[in-house]
Subunit: 384 residues, 2 copies
C-alpha cells in the first residue's frame, strides 16, 4: 500500500509519479549542510551519479545545484564558452530554441540547425554545418519534451569526433537521463545535463550535470571568468570535489532534503542493472505506441527510431483540441499534458511514461492510462 | 509529539529546525506544475509573501525561484544593473565580499564600504560615499551571518532617498526576513532578497525576492537584455504574474514540493501578527545575549543595536577553537556552527535562533542550548 493519499496519476513528461520512500526523504528532519551526516549523503550521491551516467573516468565531474533543469543550460553557456564564441544547436523542438536563447543571453553566437517538426537534423546536414564553421560546442536535445523526438547520440558523437574533434558535445538529457540509454564514457560525451523530476524520479528543484575531463580542461583554460555567479563552476567545482571527498565545504546552501531524496532514488535505481531499466522503459513505450497506433492515432515523430522511450506525443484526431479530451482523462484519474510546441500546441497531447509508473510492478498507471485514453476518446465521439 | 525522529537541534544560522507540517508538505504527492491545484497554491504563496514583506503596493513584485539564496544576488546583478554600472556594497562581513564578487562577475563595478569586524559603516561615511560617485544600487546585508552584525535599514533608506534618490536600495535579507522587522513599503526598499531555510522555516532550495515598482521600472527600461538566462526576469516576470493571477504558465519547472512547504510555513507565520513574531525573536535573542554575557563571553558586534535578533556570534575564551567545544554541544543534542569570517574563523562560534525553535512554545531548544553551552564550557575547563 502506498503511503501517499489517493491522487490522479501524473503521466506528463515530468514531474512524474514519485516513490513513497523518495517522498519520505523529502521530509527529512533538518541537518546542517556542513555536518558529517549530510556531507556523507551528498558525497555518496555524487558518486552514484557517476554510475547512473556510466562513467568510470575519474576526470568526469558531477554537479548538483539547487535550481530547475534550465540552470544546466546556464552552466554550459557561462562555463564552457566565452562571449563571441560560436555554438551549434541541433533543434528538434521548443527546447532547442530555448537553449539557443540561453547562449545568446551570455553573448555566445548560437546557430540552429533545424529539422521539420517531428524529424531531427540528419548526420550529413550536421557534417556539412560542422565543416562550414568552427564551433566550440554542439548541443543536442536527447529527447525534446515538446515533440517527443529522440536524438541518436552515439553516431552523432562519432561524427563530431571525426569531423570536428575540438567541438564539445553537450547533451540536454532532461527528459532522457534515467530512461534512455546513455553511456557517457563509451560515447565520449562532454556534458549531459538533466533535472531531478523526470526519469530520475525526484521532485523538481535540482539541476544535475556530468561533465567530461575534456570539458573541465576547457573550463580551466578559459581566458575570462564565467560571466555568472550562482552558475559558475569557479564557485562550485571545489564544493563538489569536497563533498565527494566527504569534506565539509560552503559556497551556497544546498538543499539537504532534495539531496536525500536523490540519494534514495539513485539507490533504488542502481539496485538493478541499468540495462534492465532502459529495457523496461523501451518495452513499455512500445506497448503504448502500439496501443496509440491501434487507436488509429499518430505520433509527432514519424520514424520509430526517432520516438522517445519515456514519453509519447499523440496527434489528436481531426480538429480536436487538448481541452476536449484532457478533462475526461482527469475524471478517470489520469493526467496527460497538452501541447508545448508553439506552432502545433493546440493539436496534440503528451503522455509521459518514466520512473516508478513504468518500473514498479505494483503500479498499474500505464495500463490504466491506455484504457482511460480509449474510453475518453470514445466519450468525445471519436471512432477509429 | 513531533512526527520527526529524534535528532540534534539544528541551531546554526540556517538551515533551522522545521515544523512537522512543513516537512510533511515537502513530501506532497506529485502534481503537474501547470495544473490548477498547484497553480492555486503557488499563486496564494506569492500573495502571502506580500504580507510577509509588509507591502500593499500592487507594483511590488514577488519572485520565487528554485535555487539557493545566492541566486538572489545574481537576480539583482543581472536584472537591475548593466555592465559598467557602479554599485555601492556596504560590508559587514563575508557576505558583502561575496555580493561584490557576484556584481563583478556580471561586469558591474562594485565599490565596498567596509567597517572593522563587528561594526558597520556609519551613516556619515555612507553619505560621503554617495556624494562622491553616482551609484545605481546600494546593497546592505541586513544580518551578516558571518559576524551577526545587524544593519539599520530605516535610517539608511532615509539617507539614500535624501542624498541619492535614484540609487536603488537592495537588502540581503537571507538571515533576517521572518525574524527581523522589515517594512518594505514604509521604509521604501527596492529589493529584499532571501532564502527559504532560515527564519521563513522551509528547507533550502528557494530563492525568494520582493522587488519594488521603482526597481521594476528600472528593469523595464534597461538598454541591454539581462546577461543571464535562468536568473533573468524577462523569463520569470510573466510566470510570476500568471501564477499569482492563478493562470498556468511555463518557463522552467518550479518545485511543487518546496512551494507547498513555503505555503504551509507562510500560513503558519501569518496566522499571528508579524509584530509578535519580531518581538519574540527579539526577546529570545535578549535572553541568549544576557546568558552569554553572564558567562563572561563577548559577541562580535560590540554595540547592542548592531546585534542580530536571529543569531548570536560568540568569541571563544582565550585560545579555544570551535572543534574543542562543538563536539561537547553535539553530545548534548545541540548543533552550533563554527566561524565563517575568514580572518577570525577559528576564534568564534555561531548560535542561530530563528523559526520554530523560538516561536513554538512546545519546544525547549533555546533553554536547552543555553544550558548545554554552560556545561560544555565547564567540561573543557572554562571558568568564568
Amino acid at each position: 500500500m502506498s503511503t501517499q493519499p489517493e491522487h490522479p496519476a501524473v503521466l506528463i513528461p515530468g514531474p512524474v509519479e514519485f516513490d513513497d520512500a523518495v517522498l519520505q526523504a523529502m521530509g527529512h528532519y533538518s541537518e546542517p549542510h556542513t555536518g558529517a551526516p549530510f556531507v556523507n549523503c551528498f558525497g555518496d550521491t555524487l558518486s552514484m551519479l557517476r554510475k547512473l551516467f556510466i562513467t568510470e573516468d575519474p576526470a568526469s565531474q558531477p554537479f548538483v545545484l539547487s535550481g530547475s533543469g534550465t540552470l544546466g543550460w546556464d552552466q554550459v553557456a557561462t562555463n564552457l564558452v566565452e562571449p563571441g564564441d560560436n555554438v551549434l544547436v541541433l533543434h528538434t523542438g521548443y527546447f532547442g530554441d530555448s537553449f539557443a536563447d540561453c547562449f545568446e543571453s551570455y553573448g555566445v553566437n548560437a546557430t540552429q540547425l533545424k529539422a521539420p517538426i517531428g524529424d531531427r537534423p540528419q548526420l550529413d546536414e550536421i557534417e556539412k554545418a560542422l565543416k562550414e564553421k568552427s564551433y566550440k560546442i554542439i548541443t543536442v536535445t536527447h529527447v525534446d519534451t515538446s515533440t517527443g523526438v529522440l536524438s541518436e547520440l552515439k553516431s552523432l558523437s562519432e561524427l563530431v569526433h571525426r569531423v570536428s574533434p575540438d567541438t564539445l558535445i553537450a547533451v540536454d538529457g532532461v527528459c532522457s537521463v534515467g530512461c534512455e540509454e546513455i553511456r557517457f564514457d563509451d560515447w565520449k560525451l562532454d556534458v549531459v545535463l538533466t533535472a531531478s523530476q523526470k526519469a530520475i524520479g525526484v521532485p523538481a528543484g535540482l539541476s544535475i550535470l556530468m561533465v567530461s575531463g575534456k570539458a573541465m580542461d576547457r573550463f580551466n583554460s578559459r581566458k575570462s571568468r564565467p560571466n555568472s555567479y550562482f552558475a559558475s563552476w569557479k564557485n562550485w567545482l571545489p564544493i563538489m570535489q569536497n563533498y565527494e571527498a566527504k569534506k565539509p565545504s560552503y559556497f551556497a546552501t544546498p538543499s539537504p532534503q532534495l539531496v536525500h531524496a536523490l540519494h534514495t532514488s539513485l539507490t533504488q535505481i542502481l539496485s538493478k542493472p541499468l540495462e534492465e531499466r532502459f529495457a523496461i522503459h523501451k518495452e513499455t513505450s512500445q506497448k503504448i505506441k502500439k496501443a496509440i497506433t491501434e487507436l488509429g492515432l499518430k505520433q509527432i515523430p514519424k520514424k520509430p527510431e526517432d520516438q522517445a522511450n519515456g514519453m509519447t506525443t499523440i496527434w489528436l484526431p481531426g480538429g480536436m483540441a487538448p481541452p476536449e479530451i484532457l478533462p475526461n482523462l482527469m475524471k478517470k484519474g489520469v493526467i496527460f499534458a497538452g501541447g508545448l510546441h508553439k506552432e502545433i500546441a493546440a493539436k496534440y497531447i503528451r503522455f509521459g511514461h518514466m520512473g516508478v509508473s513504468v518500473t514498479d510492478p505494483k503500479r498499474s498507471d500505464i495500463d490504466h492510462a491506455i484504457a482511460a485514453l480509449k474510453t475518453s476518446l470514445a466519450e468525445v465521439g471519436y471512432k477509429n
